[in-house]
Symmetry: D3
Subunit: 136 residues, 6 copies
């Protein structure tokens, strides 16, 4: 069993809040992350696949195809966007890093199987001090 990881990056705005709360209550629960005027991050995304090495190519997966898939399915939909307002796969979810990792997993799981491989892990860095990993 071998694992291969591809890093991609995106920059986005977001806000942590519940619409049924007042701004004051959101501030009490979510702190400065609830700022109604938004803030943002340079996110780093690490997508790990597992599988067997193809003896003809020496590859587990063609990395160019994997990078293109992540860009089409994730990066183009979220880069330079507002996660709360504009990202279809985050509709109806709190815009936390945890939920981002889960939603990205759900977006990538099937297309990666169609590539002939298997998704193992989605890791999302929100900053140099915080990251989330989801294993399905």
């Amino acid at each position: 069993m071998i694992y291969i990881t591809r890093r991609e990056r995106f920059n986005a705005a977001h806000r942590l809040f519940r619409s049924e709360f007042s701004d004051e209550k959101n501030m009490a629960v979510f702190g400065k992350c609830s700022n109604p005027n938004w803030h943002g991050h340079n996110y780093e995304l690490f997508v790990t696949l597992r599988g067997e090495v193809d003896p003809d190519t020496g590859f587990l997966v063609n990395l160019k195809a994997l990078s293109k898939l992540i860009k089409t399915r994730i990066v183009e939909k979220i880069d330079h966007k507002n996660i709360n307002l504009e990202v279809d796969f985050m509709k109806g979810r709190m815009a936390s890093t945890e939920n981002l990792a889960i939603a990205i997993w759900e977006e990538l799981e099937n297309p990666i199987q169609e590539l002939g491989s298997q998704l193992h892990s989605v890791k999302v860095y929100e900053s140099e001090n915080n990251y989330v990993e989801y294993l399905g």
Copy 2:
């Protein structure tokens, strides 16, 4: 002559646009950075001072005091904020990295002189691939 540098970080939302332009024209001029719903970054700020070493302390400047000054004057005003809407020292300026570096210089120049030192450079990283440096 010796130089000392302190790094601080902030996360913020912004948008590049001119209000007299339509969204379409802003997209043509500023690309995806003009997204009306904002995007954001993890900014890194490097503030460099120059001067002589104080023989009593071995310091050019007390780094704790310098860090506190940068936090009070800059980070607390911009971290988890919207640069276009909420940051007093960016009022009336395009929210570009270039203008951020210039505005931060203007905010820090005098207070650093009051600390007994001299501002030499303000460097702002918008991403791992782009940064701006301003020397006054």
Copy 3:
């Protein structure tokens, strides 16, 4: 199952040695790490928790509370300290990175359960070339 990681940092002095050995024997066994006058490191600490996402907040854990807990229980006791002489949770242990990771696990396991979450991993970087991970 989802995993969230928080990075904290501390700078400390230490020495690897056995008190029943001579300085020469300590040098033979532990090399330059046994220097009787100490040396030190910028340590990086990665604390990983696992659990379920709270649907109300989108969080596995409130990162501000986690950061505060790590600072109170670990960083304030070890930062700018001598690991051999001054750190209560390292009393009676060799000041190796392995033992640091184990001791930090023991300090954090219960308080993290009181936060409503579960400790998954403690990783300690001694340098860019060496790190230790402990999973309990």
Copy 4:
């Protein structure tokens, strides 16, 4: 159970191709990585061991001995070399990162047991965006 990781680095040239293919067919399958005139990388190698801490030393393994073993068995054979032409443990394998990780595992597994420890993982970074991990 505790894990310790040592990083080493090497710079090497390589090419992805099948000798029974024409240059054109290799380009179609392997893209620019098949350039007949070679290209190269700064590889980073992370070797992780698992085991119990020796109560006499506080170590899982003597890192100096581990570093020397990796240098003798791997780095001296591949650093500043052509992976396709000059590296004995890559003979007869496609020079992919996947195969590099597997071959390095095979080179290190026994010598690390002779050190009294157990190999857990070999991770090879080909660039800041791509890495492979092999767990045996």
Copy 5:
């Protein structure tokens, strides 16, 4: 005066040698960098421009145009190539990092003036431990 920097990356093979020397003499002068079978690096290129901020855009230069220029003039010619054999702007020069920085300066100086800006510095990292900067 303000400075803006763009990072780009390329992976390439090279060799340091003089064709009038024997392999043995090249090894004596250039060490393992003279390996006749080549080796390679992940190079990082930092291109710094200086100028005035355009008050209409808040930009010193459009970074997208700068990135495209560096990719067209440099990266596409050298990425996944052999610096000694295939890179027109390195013809007739020793393939050292020093000469790379000088040659890249010469390739970029005029096109950057045509962009309406001025080249200030070309910095090339060959590894995490070595880099060269050329200021013209």
Copy 6:
């Protein structure tokens, strides 16, 4: 004019204090950096030389010779040592990063001239957030 930089690293213990002060007064002036039981850092040292490229080698300086010089003159004297007690070139100086940079400059200036090159800058990182640069 071209600049070449070599990075080296060392780990050391130190303390900021004046012997004529009480521990309390040292704490008031230098904060936790005055801990009488020491603390320590992973220091990173960047040594920059300037000069002309030798047309025979393509080098400004032989990096192997430069690395060896820095190791002999600096790293071997300070790595895994106590800066206040054991480092000859820091005798009689406060063990601040500023003084480290100045002292390293003084140690390297002449030997680098004997190498046929010229010292341009000594940069010392004490942590990811603080560094000092000295230009002579």
